[in-house]
């Protein structure tokens, strides 16, 4: 048992942190000394994109975007622990760049389900930052990711076409291509690659709660390329397994992003308590406030432990629905505790649009949703408590 990072992983953390820090430009743009973010800072998002194109390229140059892809496919051949390290740093920096949504998640789907031509054609371009993807899976009223899609894939003379509606599609507003889940005529679920600019694809962009962007996609006879081909029905049945695995990897990355962000929010809060004076004294003199900060710290450490738990399980290829649910539940609870508390402890400033801590709260609120919110994960765990006697770290009780 070992919770330490290897020297290489520590170096990755340092490298990414330095790159993101130097990017931040003027002091305070990360919310370090105060809540302001100046427009001049390198990390400022492009208005259309919702994130910095320049920083996306910097991440590409670091090898971050293709971290989890194999070297043959333009990546670094790294695993879940490296992804955790990267995601945590992105969270800590309050980065707007949709690493998971536009690179990791759709990329992993492609890596697992695509044929060689698809993989070698697309993955290197994701890694170099020249191509943005998004995974179109959720549908109106779908709630849980496991639901069979209503979107249908129909085999026609000249190829497959898709019909249906996908919403919400995270980072869908700027994607060049979509990986789309659809139900094929034999009733199985399959994955397809769709050019965003193709006829039959109608994209409606919108802002999301975290001030990023997403899109609704409507497919009407939209040409689609099946991943790994439709003739191998075995692969179709695998699509569900591939989607599940890719989502688990995404969840682990989101957990890590949350831990990084919450850690930063706590740091910022403590700095604020030390610096801010009222009644002639720093706020840090008030025990009511310092005790709440202490409680935040406890929540953070518990969340960090569970993030490691999930990542380590993925790295061991031993992840289960239960382990994912456990991590997501704990991190979700930590988000619901720490993020609003951080805002509260900043007083009125914490609720303004300009405030870094407020923007991180918005992102955390979305992350919590992506991790299943208050009910989803708890429901999964509650349904299975009768399957085992003692709750254990090393599942004899797997879901």
């Amino acid at each position: 048992m070992d919770f330490e990072l290897t020297p290489e992983q520590s170096l990755l953390r340092q490298t990414v942190r330095e790159a993101l820090d130097s990017d931040a430009g003027k002091a305070g743009s990360r919310g370090g000394g105060g809540p302001q973010e100046t427009a001049a800072s390198g990390g400022a998002p492009d208005e259309e994109l919702g994130f910095s194109r320049r920083r996306w390229r910097d991440l590409a140059e670091l090898g971050a975007l293709g971290l989890a892809f194999s070297e043959a496919e333009g990546g670094q051949g790294a695993g879940p622990v490296e992804v955790m390290v990267l995601a945590e740093e992105l969270g800590r920096a309050g980065a707007h760049e949709p690493f998971v949504e536009a690179a990791l998640l759709p990329g992993l789907l492609l890596a697992r389900a695509g044929n060689e031509e698809q993989r070698t054609g697309v993955l290197p371009e994701i890694a170099t930052g020249t191509r943005l993807l998004a995974f179109a899976h959720a549908e109106p009223g779908s709630g849980h990711w496991q639901r069979r899609p209503d979107t249908r894939a129909i085999p026609e003379e000249h190829g497959w076409v898709l019909a249906g509606l996908k919403n919400p599609v995270l980072a869908g507003h700027c994607a060049d291509d979509f990986v789309v889940s659809a139900t094929v005529p034999d009733g199985n679920v399959a994955l397809f690659l769709v050019d965003a600019g193709a006829a039959g694809v109608r994209r409606t962009r919108y802002a999301t709660v975290d001030r990023r962007y997403g899109a609704q996609l409507e497919f009407a006879a939209a040409p689609a390329e099946p991943l790994a081909g439709p003739h191998e029905t075995a692969d179709h049945q695998n699509a569900v397994g591939v989607i599940q695995w890719a989502f688990w990897c995404a969840q682990a990355a989101w957990c890590a992003e949350a831990v990084g962000a919450l850690s930063h929010m706590l740091d910022t809060t403590c700095e604020y308590l030390r610096a801010r004076k009222q009644f002639g004294t720093p706020l840090a003199k008030f025990q009511a406030l310092t005790h709440r900060a202490a409680d935040m710290y406890v929540s953070l450490e518990l969340a960090r432990s569970m993030s490691c738990y999930l990542t380590a399980a993925l790295a061991d290829e031993a992840a289960t629905e239960s382990i994912v649910a456990r991590a997501a539940l704990q991190i979700g609870r930590a988000i619901r505790h720490i993020a609003p508390e951080a805002v509260q402890l900043h007083g009125a400033i914490g609720v303004t649009a300009e405030s870094a801590v407020a923007r991180q709260l918005a992102r955390m609120t979305v992350l919590d949703r992506l991790l299943g919110g208050n009910f989803d994960k708890l429901r999964i765990l509650a349904e299975h408590i009768g399957d085992y006697e003692l709750v254990e770290l090393q599942p004899a009780n797997t879901v």
């Binding site: 070992d2 005790h291 990542t311």
Partner: protein, 390 residues
């Protein structure tokens, strides 16, 4: 990053798992698993069996009969004990005084007391708190005045756990009332409870149990060689000890057993729609607490919380704060599952199941967990100042 046990770690755990179940009498273990407090005889019996197998003080240095267990080994050692219902080796001996003697006592004092301490030939209790010195321990007043080759001790200690069974007490006493900083006038003194002038008086707790006591010292003469380390350096040793106390009040294994039992009880409790275990509110609560327990266990594993290099580790405060809250929440869950059948406590031939009749008193008893070993408020202050720099 590996969060699973290696093959050798798993084998180690399996060995302990089997040993505890094979060697510790089953009646003792069943009592403990059912939530009853072990008797003095239970504690001594179990401790001596463990000691004979080299498992009473495994975290101690080899020189003093230990096996220099790593933090992970200690975790497994304790966790498996709790899962098997084994009464732990006496905490005051093993986790509190022992390490202090090892780290700070003279060679002769260590030699004199450590073997008997390891074997539970001496049952130690902790004389720290006083009526006027709880959270503010440094304000303690029990006085020790040097007279020739003795100290004369006057004062009172309180909340002394299991003093009714104890032979000796390790105390913090004030040897220099003129010291500018109160902490600087405190010494660590070992006292035989059979000394003339020592009086013990029980304190009844809210659940009717007798766990803690008051101890009065009326001109008790204590040989000066019973001083641990240097005079007026006692506060340093105390902080070290308290860090171990905080870290060692581990109850994850016990929590797992209680939650497993809670599920059984819920499954046995019928409702119009099935059983309490089918009830989504109950099952959600159980699932939540199970998850919280796992998160705590992982955190204990990740952050080695015991005192080392002579100092307390602030991470021990995280473990103590959260662990004590969970103990209360778990006891509350079981109390909820018990329903009205939890109201009776005693009585012969009463239909309420035994576990239900223990649920209420256990809930009341666990109010102590967020107070002892440094209250939750104290732990938060430690976290805020030592870890967060506030």
């Amino acid at each position: 990053m590996k969060v699973t046990l290696s093959a050798s770690e798993a084998a180690f755990r399996e060995e302990l798992r089997n040993f505890y179940r094979r060697e510790i009498p089953v009646d003792i273990r069943e009592r403990v698993l059912a939530g009853q407090a072990p008797t003095k005889k239970d504690v001594v019996t179990a401790h001596k069996i463990l000691h004979a197998a080299g498992l009473a003080v495994p975290q101690w240095p080899k020189r003093w009969g230990g096996r220099e267990f790593t933090a992970l080994q200690q975790h497994i050692w304790l966790d498996e004990m709790q899962l098997a219902g084994v009464p732990e080796p006496l905490f005051f001996n093993v986790q509190m005084l022992g390490p202090v003697l090892i780290n700070f006592a003279s060679e002769s004092l260590a030699r004199r007391f450590l073997p008997a301490t390891a074997a539970l030939d001496i049952w130690w209790c902790q004389g720290f708190s006083e009526p006027e010195a709880g959270s503010d321990l440094a304000s303690l007043r029990t006085r020790a005045v040097r007279e020739g080759d003795h100290y004369v001790v006057d004062g009172q200690k309180t909340w002394t756990t299991l003093a009714q069974h104890a032979d000796w007490i390790f105390t913090l006493v004030r040897t220099d009332p003129t010291a500018l900083k109160r902490q600087a006038g405190i010494s660590f003194l070992l006292i035989d409870l059979n000394s003339p002038g020592v009086t013990r008086r029980p304190i009844e707790l809210i659940d009717g149990s007798h766990e803690v006591n008051e101890i009065f010292f009326d001109e008790v003469r204590v040989p000066a060689e019973n001083l641990v380390g240097q005079e007026n350096q006692g506060w340093k040793y105390a902080k070290f000890l308290l860090g171990n106390e905080r870290a060692g009040i581990g109850s994850v294994g016990r929590g797992k057993v209680q939650l497993a039992r809670a599920k059984q009880y819920a499954a046995q409790s019928r409702t119009p729609a099935g059983t309490l275990l089918d009830d989504p509110l109950v099952s959600a609560r159980i699932a939540e607490l199970e998850n919280d327990l796992l998160a705590l266990e992982l955190t204990q594993l990740r952050v080695v919380a015991g005192s080392s290099e002579g100092k307390a580790n602030p991470a021990s405060s995280v473990v103590k704060l959260r662990g004590s809250q969970l103990q209360q929440q778990i006891s509350e869950l079981i109390w909820d599952i018990a329903g009205p059948e939890g109201l009776p406590v005693g009585g012969v031939g009463v239909a309420s199941p035994q576990w239900a009749r223990l649920a209420g008193t256990h809930y009341l008893n666990t109010r102590k967990t967020t107070v002892y070993g440094g209250s939750s408020e104290v732990q938060r202050s430690i976290i805020a100042s030592t870890i967060l720099g506030l």
